[in-house]
Amino acid sequence: MAVELDVFVGNTTIMDEEVYQLWLDGYTVNDAVRARMEGGVLDEFDATADVLLSDTMDQYRTFQMCERLLHSPAKLANQLLFQIPPHRQTMLIERYYAFDDVFVREVLGKKLSKGTKKDLDDISAKTGVTLKSCRRQFDNFKRIFKVVEELKGPLVENIRQHFLLSDKLARDYAAIVFFANNRFETGKKKLQYITFQDFAFCAGQLINNWTVGAVGEGLWLLPLANMDVDLDKEFLQELKELKVLITDKDLLDQHKSLVCTALRGKTKAFNEMEANFKNLSRGLVNIATKLTNTKDVRDFFIDLVEKFIEPCRSDRWTAADVKLYLTHYTNSAHILDTFKHQVVWDRYMGVIKSCIFKMYHD
């Protein structure tokens, strides 16, 4: 005796959020049943494992049928096959596009290509996220990337409108798209301590300040495809001018003394700051001047860590020290009479400052 067929279809599609999560997490039906049993549904409600199995199968089938629609969430709202109340639709979409930070951290900055997809089993083994779930997340990245690549206008807004995602999730995806597009290196060992959320924050800073779209409303009218995705080439060119801060000996000394005067007595790490000023300044300015090379753009984060964060950390600066130092370092440049590139400097340092703050932790 065997159950040959077993279906349950509601006029309003019945979906259990818990089962949905298990499905998204890539559990097989049997694993999901086990997980649910351990979760105590059976204790809560007098039911047998058979009932649970039947229910789980039904739900899995429903999700599989819905998956096609979830690939273009706008369809979910005007399709006729499943009657799902709007708030449930929102939940389905939001959860489907949610991702694991551990997973995204692995693929962040990588090319969203078939090659990367092949490595997913390694990533799955490393992160403990099931392969199925990895694939879904990777495909989501790719799908969103492909769609927004073609679109004009602000990145976050585009993602939110086309995929009906929440603001938070849309921002995260913007970061992922931005990283993938610019191929930032994030996988090096030195960068391992930086979380996805740190990177997402930095991406937000870069998108908001260093891209073409960031400059102002007027530029929206330009027929540029990837205003938010590509860095502002003109700006990167201008950054070369900052070199004067380290090449001009006088300017460097003047800058140092201004910073040191402001810092004296305010921090325990003053001596280290004074000793390292030239090194650190050279580091930051060099990063700026090299950003015209795509290769160096990719190494942006690793450079920040190597050239600034690591030296500070070895001198045991506190986060407050870093903040203090960078604030004065930035502001003091304004007082330099011969330094003419205040606007570029601010645009550059504003982002650098907030990125370093975010990245300066254990």
């Binding site: 067929l5 279906v7 279809v9 509601g10 009932v51 199968m57």
Partner: protein, 1037 residues
């Protein structure tokens, strides 16, 4: 030329990619009605084409308008090869033919392909301009309204109830024509879908004509069925109740249709009927018909002896004639005295009603609930079955040589319907005679169905024998004097229907009578079985519950007449056992009446399945059911006696718990206080379960009847012990749940608006070839119980809720397969006002089996004493369960206004907004809302086939998506009619054939219901306005 049909194709969306190279589609549309076809332009390279076509106009007869569907085919244009069909939409334009129903069809329809399922959507506008045609000999019946609802629809008043209408049409099944061998499965499926659509259109038109002849304007309780007879053809048949309905003016309607949940709890009935109560306060005369005095007592000679003692109140018989024994059974002509010598009052009643009712060939009513006062007395269930051989009706004219032409059936099969008509006629006569035997002149809650396996067909009909109020029967009697008549009526309104319609001195069957516990004046039976819903006025103690009897019987595989005879012989035993089970389960729950009883017997190659579902209640007017007493058959044996005592205790405990669970606390004190002449030790009946079914045992049974002091279920074989166990292990619903097979649950009145309709299908494969009857029974029972458990589990987030209208259908699609399909609705209710007590499991599993016998005594005192100790400890535990599992997530359907306007948006500009929420329910009402308009009947038939079963997720995946697609198509049609709900929804057929080895499966589904516009009770004004504005927008588009 009395009609002009206009259609406009607006746009498509989500079309499938038909051209792999470009990933796009060059779509165009063919619009076909009758033999006329129009085409739109090709909309190149788009998955969301905008055709915005002109209005295509078809000038047609109204006869065709009724029969034909509008057929819309979406195709992909291909320059070099044949155009590929994407899919089709069939639109039934019948709703547009009624002035009071929909005025325009406008909306997105799923494009359906029988092989691929839904493939995108198309936006269509359809209008009809009808010219008045006063031709008396017309063949059309435009304007006759059809309702699936088995009660007088809301916002209507019945001016006249004319009575029974029936019709059937026959055609050969395209699937079995020679051409089917050379055409594609798609073409074959589409031919079938179209044919059935045409046939049901024709059927509806013919029924409409009959209604017009009778002077009516509507059919209520319209029940249409398909019989797929295979080689011998395809039958579409329908029955219904012809009425003259009158619509309330909008003002009065709002007053007279109170919200179901606001019904006073003191009125122990389900509330929707309250609405109608007022509606009917006016008058409801019944028209007259031709007399057919037919008086016959179906004697037990037509059915084996085990019948009679077991059925205090329901009369069932199975006519077991194959074509071999077509002659009327001896029972038909014999007897007849039962009804005649009734008391003077009853005679009067009967005489009055006979004059009008007897004129009618079949005084049958498909309605299941009635205006108060309509139903005077209820006799009990009457049913008849007949086994027929289909190969007998092979018509040479239908041979394979004939060329295929779809519309041919009119000419060729002229004599065929007559065979079927004769069969049904025979069954109906039998039903009628059963009703007579119960002293009744009418049958209410009447339904018919068939079960077909190969060439054997079981025809079944059942209903409830009843006496209807003479004042409704009198011709031309409108309001004047009706009140007087009410006073003439000897019984108070709320218990009258329980009073026996037959003569107590000359009862048609042995039953125990007692004086009515409410009025103390009239006699009532101890148990009442009916197929109708609980009458509005009935007083109920406690709550009701679903009671099911399930039974499997093996039979030898056989062919032709031998097979038919074998089935005929088994039927009475099955009916008997089902009845016994129902009775025992009823007693175990301390209840005394069944409503909405539906018994289905399904035939397979090597077995018969029987399933009876009903809602059990405790009718206050009826005596308390007996308890259960156990006595060993061999009194000397000490071991046995201990065992007997142990089982006795368990059964008593179970009864006590059930009383607690269902809150059955009849006011016993007052019973004794008022005293009155209840014959104290009531007459006992006895059900005798024989060890074997040998004939001498059976005769003993007749002898012992009436003499023993207890309700006896004597059991000393494994078979019977199992019965007891199944009795005790039938689990009650978990905390927070109720279930019933009727429209609503007696005892629950405060419905909230959350509803969730669902369909579930389960098929079991029996691998074990050496199954016994017992083994099969167990499997079947478990199957049903597990299904129920699954429902409770799935719907756990909606508690407290009640599964209403649980409608189980069983089938034996193949030799080793058992299929159960269920459609029901979960309705939430407000627990706070309800003060329900937490339910609890009936009992734990029993001790040792086999040795002993059980007896169920009728002793009231015995079980009432054991009632008290149990309940207190239960409540705490269950209460927790309720709290922890309650997370409300039922559909929070958007009320009409938003949904409606949204649909309009989306229909006018592509891609905007979402889809109208369409609620569906098998009930005739939606809690918390008021139906303001009936838009027409939905009657759809779909076929789905696949040759990639594995890829679609196996049979489950295949059927799951098909059912979802059917729902989607029903919703889309309702939304296009401007509606937001379907009431009285039912899935009549779900025929699944699979061949996993070939990776193929095919499924046929037939659904029906009434499309309606309903508004929330609270914001009726506002929405009426919205509705009007909607209308104008529609018109403008």
């Amino acid at each position: 030329m009395p009609g002009k049909l206009k259609a406009k194709i607006v746009a498509g969306r989500h079309l499938p990619v038909m051209d792999r190279a470009s990933d796009l589609t060059d779509a165009f549309v063919e619009v076909k009605f009758g033999n006329t076809t129009f085409k739109t332009d090709v909309c190149p390279k788009s998955l969301n084409p905008q055709w915005n076509s002109e209005w295509f106009k078809f000038e047609v007869d109204d006869e065709d308008l009724q029969d034909e569907p509008l057929q819309i085919t979406v195709l992909d244009h291909d320059t070099y090869s044949a155009n590929d069909a994407i899919g089709k939409v069939y639109i039934d334009i019948d709703p547009l033919l009624c002035t009071e129903a929909a005025s325009i069809i406008s909306g997105w329809f799923p494009i359906y392909d029988t092989i691929h399922g839904i493939r995108g959507e198309i936006n269509v506008l359809v209008k009809v301009e009808l010219f008045n045609d006063l031709n008396r000999f017309r063949q059309s019946s435009c304007g006759v309204k059809f309702f699936c609802t088995t009660s007088i629809p809301y916002s209507y008043r019945a001016v006249m109830v004319h009575g029974f209408v029936e019709e059937l049409v026959v055609n050969e099944d395209p699937e079995y024509q020679w051409i089917d061998r050379i055409r594609t499965p798609r073409a074959s499926n589409e031919a079938r879908q179209r044919l059935i659509s045409l046939m049901s259109g024709e059927l509806q038109r013919k029924i409409g004509l009959k209604v017009l002849e009778m002077g009516g304007n509507a059919v209520v309780g319209y029940l249409q069925c398909f019989d797929l007879e295979g080689e011998s053809g395809l039958v579409v048949r329908a029955i219904g109740t012809a009425c003259t309905l009158e619509k309330f003016s909008s003002g009065s309607a709002s007053i007279t249709c109170p919200h179901p949940s606001t019904a006073p709890p003191s009125n122990a009935c389900n509330s929707p009927k309250d609405g109608k109560e007022l509606v009917f306060g006016e008058e409801l005369p019944l028209s007259s018909g031709p007399p057919t005095p037919f008086r016959a007592l179906p004697s037990s000679s037509s059915s084996p002896p085990p019948f009679s003692p077991s059925k205090p109140c329901s009369r069932q018989s199975s006519s077991s004639d194959t074509d071999l024994s077509l002659t009327p059974k001896t029972g038909m002509g014999s007897g007849g005295s039962a009804g005649k010598e009734a008391g003077p009052l009853k005679t009067l009643l009967r005489q009055q009603t006979q004059t009008t009712l007897e004129q009618r060939e079949f005084p049958f009513f498909t309605l299941t609930s009635f205006p108060p006062g309509f139903l005077v007395h209820v006799g009990g269930v009457v049913s008849a079955r007949s086994v027929k051989l289909l190969d007998r009706i092979h018509n040479p004219a239908l041979g394979n040589a004939r060329s295929y032409k779809l519309l041919d059936w009119n000419s060729v099969t002229a004599d065929e319907p007559e065979t079927r008509d004769a069969w049904w006629e025979e069954i109906r006569q039998e039903i009628k005679s059963h009703a007579k035997a119960l002293g009744c002149h009418a049958v209410v809650g009447y339904s018919e169905n068939t079960s077909i396996c190969e060439e054997v067909c079981i025809l079944s009909a059942s209903g409830t024998a009843a006496i209807l109020n003479p004042r409704y029967m009198r011709e031309g009697c409108l309001d004047v004097g009706s009140i007087d008549h009410r006073f003439d009526d000897p019984s108070p309104p709320n218990c009258g229907f329980c009073h026996i319609p037959y003569d107590e001195l000359n009862m048609p069957f042995p039953a125990q009578l007692a004086y009515c516990y409410q009025c103390r004046r009239q006699k009532v039976p101890d148990v009442l079985f009916t197929t109708i819903d609980l009458p509005a006025e009935a007083a109920v103690t406690g709550k009701g519950c679903l009671i099911q009897a399930r039974l499997c019987r093996l039979k030898k595989k056989a062919q032709g007449e031998v097979n038919a005879t074998a089935i005929s012989n088994l039927l009475p035993f099955m009916e008997y056992e089902l009845h016994t089970q129902l009775m025992n389960k009823l007693k175990l729950r301390s209840m005394n009446a069944l409503f909405g009883l539906h018994i289905q017997i399904s035939v397979g190659e090597n077995m018969l399945l029987g399933l009876a579902s009903a809602t059990g209640v405790y009718l206050t007017a009826l005596p308390a059911p007996g308890g259960i007493q156990i006595a060993g058959k061999t009194p000397g044996d000490l071991n046995n006696e201990q065992h007997v005592a142990a089982i006795q205790k368990r059964i008593n405990d179970a009864i006590a718990k059930n009383k607690e669970l269902y809150q059955i606390n009849p006011p016993e004190l007052t019973d004794e206080g008022v005293g009155s002449p209840i014959p104290e030790p009531r007459q006992r009946s006895r059900i005798f379960r024989s060890h074997s079914e040998s004939s001498d045992e059976l005769s003993e049974l007749d002898l012992s009847h009436g003499k023993k002091d207890a309700f006896v279920l004597e059991i000393d074989d494994t078979d019977a012990v199992e019965d007891i166990h199944s009795l005790l292990t039938d689990a009650p619903p978990p905390a927070g749940f109720h279930s019933c097979s009727t429209e609503t649950m007696p005892g629950i009145y405060n419905w909230t608006s959350g509803i969730q309709m669902f369909t579930s299908v389960r098929v079991l494969r029996l691998n074990n070839t050496n199954l016994t009857n017992q083994g099969l029974n167990k499997i079947f029972t478990d199957l049903c119980e597990n299904l129920l458990k699954s429902f409770y589990f799935k719907l756990r987030s909606t508690v407290p809720c009640c599964l209403c209208h649980l409608n189980f259908t069983v089938a034996v699609p193949e030799e080793e397969l058992v299929q159960v399909s269920v459609t029901a609705v979960a309705m939430t209710f407000d627990k706070d006002q309800n003060q329900e007590k937490p339910p609890e499991k009936a009992t734990t599993k029993g001790g040792s089996e086999t040795e002993d016998q059980l007896q169920f005594p009728l002793e009231l005192s015995a079980d009432s004493s054991s009632t008290s100790p149990q309940p207190s400890k239960i409540s705490g535990v269950a209460e927790n369960t309720i709290v922890s599992t309650r997370v409300s997530s039922l559909e929070h359907c958007s009320p009409l206004p938003e949904g409606r306007s949204r649909s309009l948006c989306s229909s006018r500009s592509f891609g905007v907004g979402s889809v109208t929420m369409v609620k569906m329910t098998p009930l005739s009402f939606l809690p918390g809302t008021r139906i303001i308009k009936y838009l027409g009947i939905i009657n759809m038939f779909f076929i789905r086939e696949t040759t990639s079963l594995r890829e679609e997720g196996g049979v489950s995946g295949f059927l799951h998506s098909f059912i979802a697609e059917v729902f989607a198509m029903v919703r889309a049609h309702v939304a296009a009619l401007g509606g937001n709900a379907v009431v009285s929804y039912s899935m009549k057929d779900c025929v699944l054939m699979e061949n996993p080895n070939k990776n193929q499966a095919q499924c046929l589904i037939n659904v029906s219901g009434d499309a309606v516009i309903c508004v929330r009770e609270t914001d009726q004004e506002q929405t009426t306005n919205t509705g009007q504005t909607c209308g104008t927008i529609d018109g403008a588009t």
